[in-house]
Symmetry: C2
Subunit: 399 residues, 2 copies
DNA sequence: ACTCTAATTAATTCAGTCAATGAATCAAAA
DNA sequence: TTTTGATTCATTGACTGAATTAATTAGAGT
């Protein structure tokens, strides 16, 4: 009912401690003096708060800094080894585990295959075993488990509601939490990438942006006011099935004209097959078995028809994204994923399509940012989500 | 840089005062006791805070309430006459002015025509005159001016960046603020409707929703976490030109396949003309001059071809909205505007189109809400915006 | 029927608490 | 000696809880 905590001394303390921690995390190594200036807290107050935080091992003092004259400042550094985070990425046939410090740097990584036909219970067993093994092997405490999973995720209730890729329905992760005795945070995989982008700096430049991941499907992680936006039931960003062509191609989802139907590997494969059948493309004619790689090679060998095919994919993507840009007016679009392996041909066409939108006249231009999406990015995003959670401002009423 | 205020006694006080005011605004008449229970503040603290707020005329004591036993509670009511708000709606050829109390109830209303060819300076003169006249005539203070205007609005800088309807570019309202000596808050008109919806209760049910206004153009007011979302440069919600058909009809904006090209009065008129030319529709054949009204009458008379035309408009709208639903996952879509005069035919088709989207399997259904959009709604929204601003939690660092 | 008392709930008073604050002081360096 | 960083300490002020006062009802006694 009440959205904010009431004001009392505890709130002041929590708030200012968070403020000081934030300063050291963002600007450290930093002196007490500078913290006082940046936060506009009194110097004596900073001394007092830093003392208690030093006792709790949030920081370490790392000698003195430089100064032209007078006493040298004592520099405080964030202790990224106060505890650690375990991040998981659940894929179709394997689970990848990463161990991260509080600066979201990877300390260890491992992965286990599983049989998709196994029961959820068995897979939970597998996860809990690995997690508990890591926890037992480390003297430091584990502050949380971050899990990136494909599908419709209900973050607040720790549930995967529906995941076509995993073929899971209504899977409740609170049971995993019970087994590992550490807080478990679940997140949609596209959102994990958005967390990763927020972590290393795009969030400073842009208040609002979207991260598009193009792989088996097309997904979007949405950032509003530097926070992940999940929608009313946790499924915002499912842009694979927005319609770019009324009465267009039939999509596997049953609709016609979906974005995915016009951009997926399946679409590229079908169109390439068509070209091959019509014997229009010299490069494709030489290939025996069409694969995504051989199609790309055909384009790279200079085959214009195949290059045009990729350009069309770029246009299709651009049309879909233009709708989103008009509706959402993001500061940037971040793009990544294996679906962009032919980015050489796709991106210029996409850029061209996105050139004019409702805001193109505005002085602040829409930025299009390409990123490499390797395995580690997803894990890092999942870890970053937990760390963000750990250090978020303590303003809201604890439930 | 720092997003939140530092914690000190002033913050506690500001926060708790806001908390108490909020209680009385939402649940009043209410006793000190109940405020203490709801906010979890101490009873003595509530007495103390209420005392100071009574002195500042935020509340009035309105006698005692009921109780089975023991001392009767003294009820506090929000004083909606502490000050008032002036709201403006700027239209193509007229400006409508409304005076509102702090419960967003209209106290007075007037409108003045202006010549669209007049200079902005002259129109500002007109506005300032009316506003200053009202301010001079009232003994109470005016707390703010809320202005709803069509086009791309930069709220933070009090600027209309670009308004095709008014044919205004880069109009700076800080000059108006100087003339009236009262804070001026500018807002896009679709957002004003969203404010109105937030005000009377949709915001309690839904965290995230969108308000679609269908008039000369199609616009959307977007609500995220009970707050208006404006996008990176203030132009979120410009959905008139999202593309629903690749290589479709040419739109006046230069693009092909825009939502507006498939839903506007212009589209309906063109299609009806086409029907008339082909002499396919008996009802339209009898009409001399085609108008939006005569077309609607043709449908109402039972002409199936015209009814189908409206149904197609509904489908087109539905297709556009489905994309938005998949991307944004709102809890509700609120629809209104004169473009829906044929809602009898449009809405069923729209509903059908929206029936299956990515979340349709989720237990929480997407709600579609129709509202009447009369003149007063826009004014009320503009007033509600100012009042919301006036009473918002004082958590963020004052800039 | 009237008065008085106990019980109950609402509101206020008041001394105590504690985190921030600013002035004074200490520490370290040029 | 001067300058800058860090600490100490008395003061401030908003919340807090216990005690008190205010207002009301039920019920007992006359």
């Amino acid at each position: 009912m009440d959205r904010f905590r009431r004001g009392n001394k505890q709130l002041i303390k929590d708030l200012n401690e968070a403020l000081v921690i934030d300063q050291v995390r963002r600007f450290g190594p930093i002196s007490r003096k500078d913290i006082a200036i940046n936060t506009s807290l009194g110097a004596s107050t900073v001394t007092y708060i830093v003392d208690s935080l030093l006792k709790e091992k949030y920081f370490t003092e790392i000698g003195s800094g430089i100064s032209d004259y007078g006493r040298k400042p004592v520099l405080l550094q964030f202790n990224q080894r106060k505890s650690y985070i375990i991040a998981l990425k659940i894929e179709e046939k394997q689970i990848i585990y990463g161990k991260f410090d509080l600066n979201a740097r990877m300390l260890a990584k491992i992965s286990h295959n599983f049989n998709p036909k196994d029961s959820v219970k068995a897979i939970f067993r597998l996860m809990a075993d690995q997690i508990n093994q890591w926890i037992a092997a480390d003297t430091l405490p584990c502050s949380g488990i971050g899990i990136a999973a494909p599908g419709l995720v209900d973050q607040a209730n720790q549930k995967i509601i529906h995941s076509p890729i995993l073929e899971w329905e209504e899977v409740d992760f609170s049971k995993l939490e019970e087994e590992v005795q550490v807080p478990v945070y679940l997140e949609n995989d596209a959102n994990a990438i958005a967390h990763a982008e927020l972590w290393d700096g795009r969030g400073e430049q842009f208040q609002n942006f979207i991260c598009i991941t193009i792989g088996a499907g097309v997904g979007a992680g949405i950032v509003v006011k530097n926070e992940i936006y999940r929608g009313e039931v946790g499924g915002a960003g499912e842009i694979g099935h927005i319609i770019i062509q009324r009465d267009g191609l039939l999509c596997y989802c049953g609709q016609r004209g979906c974005l995915e139907a016009y951009t997926s590997d399946r679409f590229i494969m079908a169109e390439a097959l068509h070209l091959k059948e019509l014997k229009l493309s010299p490069a494709l004619n030489q290939v025996e078995q069409l694969t995504m790689n051989s199609i790309l090679q055909a384009a790279d060998s200079g085959d214009e028809l195949v290059q045009e095919l990729y350009q069309r994919v770029g246009e299709n993507l651009g049309i879909g994204l233009k709708s989103i840009v008009n509706f959402f007016n993001p500061g940037a679009i971040v793009l990544g994923g294996e679906g962009l392996r032919a980015k050489k041909y796709i991106i210029p066409a996409l850029r061209k399509e996105l050139e004019d939108h409702f805001f193109s006249r505005h002085s602040k231009k829409l930025e299009i940012i390409l990123i490499d999406l390797e395995e580690n990015q997803w894990l890092m995003g999942a870890a970053a989500m937990v760390i963000t959670q750990l250090f978020k401002e303590p303003l809201y009423r604890e439930v």
